[in-house]
């Protein structure tokens, strides 16, 4: 589905991602964990065309999409739920969802998908005429995910969905991530909350200052002493 090889990304002169290899297969839920500033968000931005690629290649569904702009990738089924949600605060929930379906022209399908999103997040249906800016952080996260689903993605990139949320809300958000994955959407999840991310994922990558330091089955990583020491707050 997605193959990154020797991918390098930089902000001006600062190298943020130093040649990483990541593979996400069809139907998988893969997580990318690591500390603040490790380059996780940068990686996602590079994949979806929001940041120019310095070196290396991105192959998506067998096609080299390195350097493709974001708006084109969305049309090819690659959707991003940006860090900090990025919902349109002045628009209602309904309007936000409509915006998610911007690239689609099949009205009936869009209407059906709106109902699908409401079924997934009943909370959003209750408040559908409310502006997104008045929602709580957790509700905004749900809306951001719902909005991304509206574009009928084949690969969903989630950037820190748990950030700034109350523990109960985090639990809920992760439940919906699993639900979305069950619907057959391939997911690449970036998280600081390594334990939760590894618990729900099939495979995981650990990133440290711009490089992948560990990779493997999520369950194996959960029991890896190095991971436990560095990210799960346990003594080695």
């Amino acid at each position: 589905m997605l193959v990154l090889s020797r991918l390098e990304l930089a902000y001006g002169g600062i190298q943020a991602v130093k040649g990483i290899d990541i593979v996400v297969d069809q139907g998988e839920l893969v997580c990318l964990v690591g500390a603040n500033g490790a380059g996780k968000t940068t990686t996602l931005k590079g994949i979806c065309g929001l940041l120019p690629v310095k070196a290396g290649t991105i192959v998506y569904r067998g096609e080299n999409v390195t350097g493709s702009p974001a708006f084109r990738l969305v049309r090819q089924g690659l959707a991003l739920v940006p860090e900090g949600r990025g919902v349109f605060g002045g628009l209602t929930i309904e309007e936000n969802l409509a915006m998610g379906a911007y690239i689609r022209t099949d009205r009936a399908g869009v209407a059906a998908d709106v109902e699908r999103v409401y079924a997934l997040f009943p909370r959003l249906k209750e408040r559908r005429r409310q502006t997104a800016g008045t929602l709580s952080g957790g509700e905004q996260q749900m809306l951001a995910m719902g909005r991304a689903i509206m574009s009928r993605p084949k690969l969903l990139l989630l950037d820190e969905p748990s950030m700034g949320l109350a523990p109960l809300m985090v639990q809920k958000v992760f439940e919906t991530i699993i639900a979305v994955a069950r619907e057959g959407v391939t997911i690449l999840l970036v998280e600081q909350n390594a334990r939760l991310a590894l618990e729900v994922s099939h495979r995981g990558y650990v990133m440290e200052s711009g490089e992948i330091t560990l990779a493997g089955e999520a369950r194996a990583l959960l029991h890896d002493p190095k991971v436990r020491a560095a990210y799960l707050g346990e003594a080695a």
Binding site: L80, F88, G89, G90, L91, T131
Partner: protein, 358 residues
């Protein structure tokens, strides 16, 4: 079924409203001419400002790009008309050829301004656009040497009026025993153009493009993640806004018969922006109202303030111009306090302001 009857009743009322407005607009110039032909001219200018305000509203209201040099596009349209229909180059093309050329060239200038400023927002964009407006004006002022293109500060005179067949828009004609003056003819032409411009704007507001502009205004990164080509959609806003300015400029040239760079200063840009803000950014009807208010109120003041002062104090204490700016500033302060989203706010803008305050 009271609901159904109600809906039908309301529809009938709406149609009645449209008919009333149409009749008023149709007989308006003759009524105004009774007061004085000057008022017909003032109305024509007001309609030109409606074009300008609606054009700027696309850039500022819909796409959220603050443009302080908008009058430059008006200037481009005006000069295209003046150069192609005056003794200056001895060209006398008909207006229906020049107007599209003016719109197209203004559109090119819009893209020219938009391209280097794609990454700028807010204050920074405002500064660059302000500079752009001044550059155009200064060019117009100085393009008289070595080759005389714009005739510099003297401007271009004897610009051809609009002619359609045998109808010359600069002269008075007798139609069915009624004297139809030039300004009245222009009024009807402008009215037709205005109906087209308003229709385009109303359609834009609820279109896919309108939604894309809304998204860009709210959050550009998120807009890109929605699959919106933000570069093209912003350039489109600049281009469309500029073309409306170009059309307005062309009509201005034809009506005035004389233009000079002086007419296209920064104050004009600010004035048009004030119309958009006062009326209600992003709301077509609000913007129209803003344009009409800000074009008429100063004129009404001009005709009332002087006589009033003379009647009360026996002499002129305050120039109408001074009072105009005073009232204008006062109105803007009041508006920011009580109706920050404009007199007729756009629903989205209003919600944005409220959610930001909350």
């Amino acid at each position: 079924m009271p609901g159904l009857i109600d809906a039908r009743h309301r529809k009938r009322l709406a149609w009645a409203g449209v008919v009333v407005v149409a009749i008023v607009l149709a007989i308006l110039p003759f009524a105004l001419a009774q007061v004085g032909t000057a008022w017909v001219r003032i109305t024509n200018t007001a309609i030109l400002y409606v074009f300008l305000a609606l054009g700027l509203n696309i850039v500022v209201g819909f796409a959220g790009l603050l443009d302080l040099g908008y009058i430059a596009f008006y200037a481009v349209g005006a000069y295209v008309y003046a150069l192609l229909a005056s003794p200056h180059f001895n060209l006398h093309l008909p207006f229906w050829i020049i107007l599209p050329i003016g719109a197209a060239l203004a559109c090119v200038f819009g893209v020219l301004l938009g391209t280097p400023t794609l990454k700028l927002r807010g204050d920074y964009l405002a500064i660059v656009t302000l500079g752009f407006g001044e550059i155009i004006r200064i060019f117009l002022n100085n393009l008289a040497r070595p080759v005389n293109i714009t005739n510099g500060p003297q401007g271009i005179a004897q610009i051809d009026p609009v002619r359609i067949g045998d109808i010359n828009f600069a002269t008075t004609q007798q139609v069915l025993g009624v004297a139809v003056t030039g300004p009245i003819k222009y009024y009807y032409l402008l009215l037709l153009l205005m109906i087209a411009v308003v229709a385009i704007n109303v359609r834009l507001q609820d279109s896919r493009i309108g939604r894309a502009w809304e998204a860009v205004r709210e959050d550009e990164v998120a807009a890109r993640a929605m699959g919106i080509n933000t570069r093209n959609i912003k350039l489109l806003a600049f281009a469309m806004g500029a073309s409306f300015g170009g059309v307005a400029g062309g009509m201005f040239s034809a009506i005035q018969g004389f233009i000079s760079p002086e007419s296209f200063g920064l104050v004009e840009s600010v004035m048009v922006l004030a119309m958009v803000v006062l009326g209600g950014m992003g709301n077509v009807w609000g913007v129209i109202l803003g344009a009409i208010l800000l074009s008429f109120v100063p004129e009404i003041l001009r005709y009332t303030v002087e006589p009033a002062q003379k009647a009360i104090f026996g002499r002129l204490l305050l120039e109408p111009e001074v009072i105009r700016m005073l009232l204008f500033g006062f109105a803007l302060v009041l508006m920011m306090l009580f109706r920050p989203a404009g007199i007729v706010p756009s629903s989205v803008r209003k919600r944005e302001l409220e959610s930001r305050r909350a």
